[in-house]
Amino acid sequence: MVARESLDGGRAGMSLLQRLLQINLILVLLICLPALVGFAMLYSAAGGEMEPWAARQIIRFGFGLVIMFGVALIDIRFWLKSAYIIYAGAFALLVGVELIGDAAMGAQRWVDIGPLQLQPSEIMKIALIIALARYFHSVAIEDIKRISVLIPPLVLILAPAALVLRQPDLGTAGLLAVSGTMMLFLAGLRLWKLGVAFAGLLGAIPVAWQFLREYQKTRILTFINPESDPLGAGYHILQSKIAFGSGGIFGKGFLGGTQSHLNFLPEKQTDFIFTMLAEEFGLAGGIALLLLYFALIAYGSMISLRCNSQFGRMLGMGIVTTFFLYVFINMAMVMGLVPIVGVPLPLISYGGSAMLTLLFGFGLVLNIYIHRDVQIGRRQHHVRA
């Protein structure tokens, strides 16, 4: 604290070293712990082998950490200034997949840029939060009540969500819509207005149903009654529940998940990795991981609340909320509480795109911690002493 006070006059330009020292190591630790759990589970998923998943995931995580620190150390005002540019770029990429994307697993989600495979919808998750944070940063509290003020953020949310739904990626579209709504809620939007918006969404369901692909419809329908079709579309949910439930309190032991290893469990290295963990480590392991996530979410929320600028607060809380949504949807999904929508378990599921997105996001959370005391004006983005 003393050190920070002494820097008071020069907050406009903290040196790189000063910022480095401000990195919140507790948050970094809370990020690394679930990732370590993830490596162990991927090792188990491969039947006790580093290949093909664990080793690559470690490399990706290391690469993601570098990006995270990079994002953290850049001045917060850079992110504020470039918010709309980032959003525009992400949106352009999203349109790009419509034009040049490859269809992977029946869904058009990838864009090849040289050797890099990018999932623009992942980038959009962060870009949407940054853009909304900036927008509400510049809106005065009195103006929030005005309906016209709500039009731009609604467009910001719905445009990419609609594009992603078209791809079709039901999970990501829902995630964008929900995390956007949460941003509106945090910004102070009147609850009754949210209620109206929610009612509108409900009204839109029959319309949206028309746009869904056949497999998405079956997913939702079999979610309602999975046991009716134990070998068809309900197979995943049922198998997941069997593996999950058979784990019991203490599980079958590391590498001992019979259901997972006999390949009854689908996608055990990605979407269903939590099932595998629950089978091998039981209720104890599941609750432990849940607590780890809770700690990360709570700590991230505290950092956001501590921040002095509305941009920082909104950004931090938005990212933590997105993270929460990942955790909740994935876990609820594998336990048969919500339909299978293809949302990975953050920091644990195998996959590069989501990992990079999350670490980029946590880089921003670290960033607002470093810049927690920086005052940023509503319109002119310069320092207010």
Binding site: I141, L186, G188, M317, F324, F328
Partner: protein, 625 residues
């Protein structure tokens, strides 16, 4: 800054609400975990133990093949297999020792079983022995308690009741090769067989049917706990052939000592009543895997038992082609049937001399006597006048030079030469002398016995372009499938011209001077008409001719002439056409005509029965699987 503070306060309030909601939701997840892993854990543990859901393909029973009267020719027999599941057997070597006491297991087989056990997953059954006898089955069943992991499995094996006598028509089934594996997943089943030849091959898809499937839950030991879903699939279609198996057997018996082919068709419907190629082979050897010795013997046989000579043997038609030449001349109005040609035993063209088969010559010949006595010089003269291209056109109208479309694989189309063909293929122009040779059905000209039978049928039925067919009807699960085949068109030939040729053919067998008079049918109302043919296999050199042509009997088998005969009966209202080709049989009148006569007599004797049931044929589904 008032606004800024208010904004921060509002944000904090909202963030706390959101955080609280998140905490509640996470607690809800914990509750769900408790529900699944503690409260309902036992249920899921049981499910997990029982949890091996398997999908099994149910191979459809292969469609059966019957003769025209419903006599079974190809059926499926139950095949009892002994299988062993290593996981349940425990010590596999000991189990095999135990089994070895009950049924002999060769050392080589034992090695294979142990090898398979290593490669496959523990709960996959391995075949120990196939085709167990009833005695062996009961011996194993009695001792079953002492033989953990062994099971008797029932499969189906194709069995050919017709055996050698219809092998070329029905063909046989064999194991699926790598190349054939595509498409239908049922092909990948161990022991699955598909048609490799004959009708089995041509009707493969229809005979195979559609595989059913069942999805079963099996426990950790591979035992089926319950069937979740079952789809019966569709059994293969039963095929009722046009073949009259009694006639087929008779024809076989008549020519089995020769290297020969014979075809009998109904002149109106095109139905093939008998189609025999001799020598034949035993199709049952192929279904279980033919032994190397038997295979080598088949391949080494100079009479090619595996070739269906009736459809893929190509022979010059010889004098049986003379009807085509006569019809060409009549149709073109070039020759008057009563116009005479003098035969001195040979004919000069350019500096070449073309001989008649009768050294001394026939004297004055008209069309009727030309056909009846098969005078070569008469047909040299006629063909010289009409030209090769007109003859070719007529031959094509009668179905030569193209596949008949019979439902059998590897049919050959023969060859009907023209001027253009020779220039295109041989690069040299047509020689006039070659037209003369075509006029007596030799030279480049090639036909199959089936084509000759079809030609004869078309002459006999008054110029209807019948095509041969092998399938009378198909039935799916006892119900007749619709037949889309259309009636045959007329060839547009003059009835008068056909009658002239028919009269000539009748005189071949029924007039004293006819070349096949000795092979006539004397039974009243059964008399046949026909035409002999003898085809030189080896060119007769001038020196040989001067020395005196050796008789066929004095030559080596492979140097003897091919003997041919085509005919139809009864002569007044033709119903059956036959063609007989005896490879290296010598003269047509001696070697082929008697066979054709016997076949035509037999088919007419069988006639009343032959009309048989025209209605839906009821196949006895219980007797043969």
């Amino acid at each position: 800054m008032q606004g800024e503070t208010g904004r921060a306060k509002l944000f904090t309030r909202r963030a706390v609400i959101l955080g609280g909601a998140q905490t509640l939701l996470l607690a809800g997840l914990a509750g769900r975990m408790y529900q699944l892993q503690v409260l309902e854990s036992d249920r899921y543990k049981t499910l997990a133990d029982d949890n091996r859901i398997n999908m099994q393909l149910l191979p459809p029973p292969r469609g059966r093949i019957f003769d025209r009267f419903g006599q079974p020719l190809a059926v499926n027999q139950l095949n009892y297999r002994l299988v062993i599941v290593p996981e349940q057997a425990g010590d596999l070597e000991r189990s095999l020792d135990g089994l070895g006491v009950l049924i002999p297991i060769e050392a080589r087989e034992r090695e294979r079983i142990l090898r398979e056990a290593q490669r496959k997953r523990k709960f996959v059954p391995i075949t120990v022995r196939e085709n167990l006898t009833w005695e062996e089955v009961s011996r194993i069943e009695v001792n079953a308690p002492d033989l953990p992991g062994t099971m008797i499995d029932v499969g189906q094996t194709r069995h050919y009741l017709a055996g050698e006598e219809a092998a070329h028509i029905i063909g046989y089934v064999g194991a699926v090769s790598e190349k054939e594996l595509e498409g239908d997943p049922v092909l990948a089943l161990p022991g699955f067989r598909i048609g490799k030849n004959g009708a089995e091959k041509i009707f493969e898809t229809a005979l195979r049917g559609k595989a059913g499937s069942r999805q079963v839950e099996v426990n950790a030991y591979g035992r089926i706990i319950r069937e979740l879903r079952r789809n019966e699939g569709q059994p293969g279609d039963d095929h009722i052939l046009t073949i009259d198996m009694g006639l087929q057997e008779y024809t076989n018996a008549r020519i089995s000592h020769e290297s020969a082919a014979a075809v009998v068709v109904d002149v109106h419907s095109g139905e093939v009543l008998a189609l025999v190629s001799s020598p034949s082979f035993n199709p049952n050897s192929f279904t279980t895997g033919i032994s190397q010795t038997e295979w080598n013997a088949l391949m080494a046989n100079p009479r090619f038992p595996l070739t269906n000579k009736a459809i893929s043997g190509q022979y010059s038609p010889g004098s049986t082609f003379k009807m085509m030449v006569a019809l060409t001349a009549l149709d073109g109005g070039i020759v008057n049937p009563s116009q005479e040609v003098f035969c001195p035993g040979h004919m000069e063209l350019g500096n070449r001399r073309f001989h008649c088969w009768k050294r001394g010559g026939h004297g004055r010949m008209n069309m009727n006597s030309g056909i009846t006595q098969s005078c070569d010089v008469y047909f040299y003269e006629v063909s010289k006048r009409v030209g090769v291209d007109a003859i070719a056109k007529m031959a094509r109208r009668f179905g030569m030079g193209e596949k008949s479309g019979i439902e059998l694989p590897s049919e050959r189309k023969g060859l009907v030469p023209t001027r253009d063909w020779k220039l295109a293929v041989h690069g040299v122009p047509w020689q006039k002398g070659e037209t003369l040779i075509i006029g007596i059905g030799q030279g480049f000209l090639l036909t199959t016995p089936l084509q000759l039978a079809v030609m004869t049928a078309r002459i006999a039925n008054g110029g209807i372009a019948v095509r041969p067919k092998l399938v009378r009807e198909t039935q799916r699960v006892g119900r007749r499938l619709p037949d889309s085949r259309e009636p045959f068109p007329s060839m547009g030939l003059s009835a008068v011209h056909l009658a002239i040729v028919q009269k000539g053919m009748s005189d071949v067998t029924n007039s004293l001077r006819g070349t096949a008079y000795r092979a006539r049918i004397e039974e009243p109302g059964m008399a046949m008409a026909g035409k002999t043919g003898s085809v030189q296999v080896k060119r007769i050199t001038k020196a040989e001719r001067e020395r005196g042509v050796r008789k066929n009997e004095d030559r080596e088998w492979k140097d003897r002439d091919h003997a041919l005969f085509v005919g139809y009966a009864p002569v007044d209202s033709p119903r059956y056409a036959v063609s007989v080709v005896v490879e290296h049989g010598g003269g047509g009148s001696k070697a082929a005509a008697p066979i054709a006569r016997d076949i035509l007599r037999e088919v007419q004797r069988r006639d009343p029965a032959r009309r048989g049931p025209e209605e839906n044929i009821h196949l006895d589904t219980a007797a043969v699987v």
